[in-house]
Every structure is written in structure tokens, then in C-alpha cells.
């Protein structure tokens, strides 16, 4: 198998871990938003924590092997679609990280409430539906979707 074949496989594996992990996290988060009991919310949000290292590994693999592919194939590091993809990758990582931090705080609250009687709480409900956290998660997802579009269409590539 060629170097290009290996690099492409590792780059795409990274993309599947990054985006697939984000999909899995979304399944757990959306499920958590439908629950009222803190113990159930906490259990589902702990599942999201399982995905975090997978998403992290995938994000690093996409960037490292993507840049290596640019060199191997002979694209320019300054090509518009590559620069745009790198910027959007950083935006997705930043938004995902910030949203994840807020979700960790929500999980800690849910675990505390679960230990204190496990009764539905308006504070937890408000945190679960926090517009800023939701906007960060959706923003990260949209940025990754645009990166995927750029990777397939490669606008302006020679």
C-alpha cells in the first residue's frame, strides 16, 4: 500500500472518530435533555465523558495526517480551502471544548442532586437547556460539517 493510502486511511479514521464521536455525544446529550431525574441525567452525561478521549484523538489525527497529506500530495498549505478547514477545525475544537466544560459542570450538579434525594430540579433543567451551551455544541457540529464539505469539494484545488 502506498504512503498516500496509509495517510488517507489514518486521516479518514481520525475524521470518523472526531465526527462519529460528536454524533455519539449528541445522542447521549439529547437523551439527557429529555430526562428529569438527576441520577438519569448524570448517568447519560457520564456516557458523554466516555466519548471525549475518542473525539480528542480523532481531532488530532485529522489535523496531523491531514497536514501530512497536504505535503504528500503537493497541495499548498496556503490554499484557501485548506486554510478555511484549519480555521474551522480550530473553531470546532474551541466550541466543543467550551461546551464540554459547561456540560461537565452540569454533570457535577446532576450527581450532587442525585446524592441529595434525586428530585427533579429547576436549576438542572435550566442548565440542560442553556442556550449558550446548546449553541456551542451545534456550532461545533456545523463547523465540522463545513470541514467535511471542504474536504470533499476541495474548492480551488488544482
Amino acid at each position: 500500500m502506498t504512503t498516500y493510502g496509509w495517510l488517507l486511511f489514518l486521516h479518514i479514521t481520525g475524521a470518523f472518530l472526531f465526527l462519529g464521536g460528536a454524533v455519539a455525544a449528541a445522542v447521549f446529550n439529547v437523551s439527557a435533555q429529555t430526562r428529569e431525574r438527576p441520577s438519569e441525567v448524570a448517568a447519560l452525561m457520564r456516557m458523554t465523558q466516555v466519548v471525549v478521549p475518542i473525539v480528542g484523538l480523532g481531532s488530532i489525527m485529522t489535523l496531523v495526517f491531514g497536514l501530512w497529506l497536504v505535503h504528500d500530495v503537493g497541495y499548498g498549505y496556503g490554499d484557501g480551502w485548506i486554510v478555511a478547514a484549519i480555521i474551522l477545525w480550530a473553531v470546532a475544537a474551541g466550541l466543543g471544548g467550551a461546551g464540554g466544560k459547561r456540560e461537565r459542570e452540569t454533570r457535577v450538579l446532576a450527581e450532587r442532586l442525585a446524592a441529595e434525594g434525586d428530585s427533579p430540579s429547576s436549576e438542572l433543567r435550566a442548565r440542560m437547556r442553556d442556550p449558550a451551551t446548546i449553541a456551542m455544541s451545534y456550532g461545533a457540529g456545523i463547523a465540522l460539517l463545513v470541514v467535511l464539505v471542504l474536504m470533499i469539494w476541495k474548492p480551488g484545488a488544482g
Binding site: M1, T2, Y4, G5, W6, L8, F9, I12, T13, A15, F16, L19, G20, G21, A22, V23, A24, A26, V27, F28, S31, R35, S39, E40, A43, L44, M47, V50, V51, I54, V73, G74, L145, L148, V149, I152, W153
Partner: protein, 149 residues
């Protein structure tokens, strides 16, 4: 520049549909494995069984349909006569097509797991079958992306 990088622009949309469906399928299948595993024992087994079943119907199944439709679409563009199809494409279909049966089995077992309130053999079977199919999807991804000769 490798020859496989040069493709007609009208292949891009079918490829995007196929890849997006595949990514959502892999991610949701992983979520299903985690939920099914959690539904086997411990607290909230009934909840996790219900969420695993719902995820299969609402995310895994639609993603599979999009992935498979995208695969047929890009194949019709890339190999319109069906002749001289490479081996890596065969690997992709060998994993994708039995997926219909796998999903039907997962839906039936998931429903039985919900009826049983989680736990039991149905929940274990969902975990094992979904896990094995996730590995098969990984093999297909290797064949489709690395295209080993």
C-alpha cells in the same frame, strides 16, 4: 498527485451523502453499544434499553439508509456499467448489505429488551451484535479509504 484524487465534480454530492451517512452510522452505532451495555445491569436498565431501542430506530436506521443510498449513487456515477469494480468496493458492499439484516435483528432484540425492562439475553445480544457490526464497519472504512490493491 495520486490519480484517485482527480474525480469529476458531479461525484462530490453522492460521495458527501455516503460519507456523512457512514459517519453518523458509526457514531450512532457506538452510542448504541454503550447504551446497550449500560442496559445489561445496574441502575436505570429499563431507561437505557428504551434509549438504545429509540436510537436504533431514530438515528442508526436513517443513517444506514443514507449511507447505503449514497453508496449506490456514487457507484452509479463511478462504475455505471458495473464492470471492472475493484475489490475494495466489494468489501464495502459485503459489509453494508448484510447490515439490513443486522439492523432488523437489532430492532427486534431492542424491542424485546425494552419489554423485559432491560437486562437479560436480549440486551447482551444487542451489545454483542452492534459491537461486531461496528468492527465490520471499521474494516469497510479501511477498504474504502485506503483502497488496498
Amino acid at each position: 498527485m495520486p490519480l484517485e484524487l482527480i474525480r469529476p465534480s458531479d461525484w462530490n454530492l453522492p460521495l458527501f451523502v455516503h460519507v456523512l451517512g457512514a459517519i453518523v452510522l458509526v457514531g450512532s452505532m457506538f452510542a448504541l453499544v454503550v447504551l446497550a451495555l449500560a442496559s445489561r445491569r445496574g441502575a436505570n436498565t429499563e431507561l437505557f434499553a428504551r434509549l438504545a431501542f429509540r436510537s436504533t430506530l431514530l438515528v442508526v436506521l436513517p443513517a444506514f439508509i443514507v449511507m447505503r443510498a449514497g453508496a449506490a449513487w456514487i457507484e452509479s456515477r463511478e462504475y455505471p456499467s458495473g464492470a471492472n469494480e475493484p475489490g475494495w468496493l466489494g468489501v464495502g458492499f459485503a459489509v453494508a448489505d448484510p447490515g439490513v439484516l443486522v439492523l432488523l435483528i437489532l430492532i427486534v432484540l431492542g424491542w424485546r429488551s425494552v419489554k423485559a425492562g432491560g437486562g437479560g439475553r436480549a440486551a447482551t445480544a444487542v451489545t454483542v451484535i452492534a459491537g461486531l457490526y461496528l468492527v465490520a464497519l471499521g474494516v469497510a472504512m479501511f477498504a474504502m479509504s485506503a483502497k488496498p490493491s
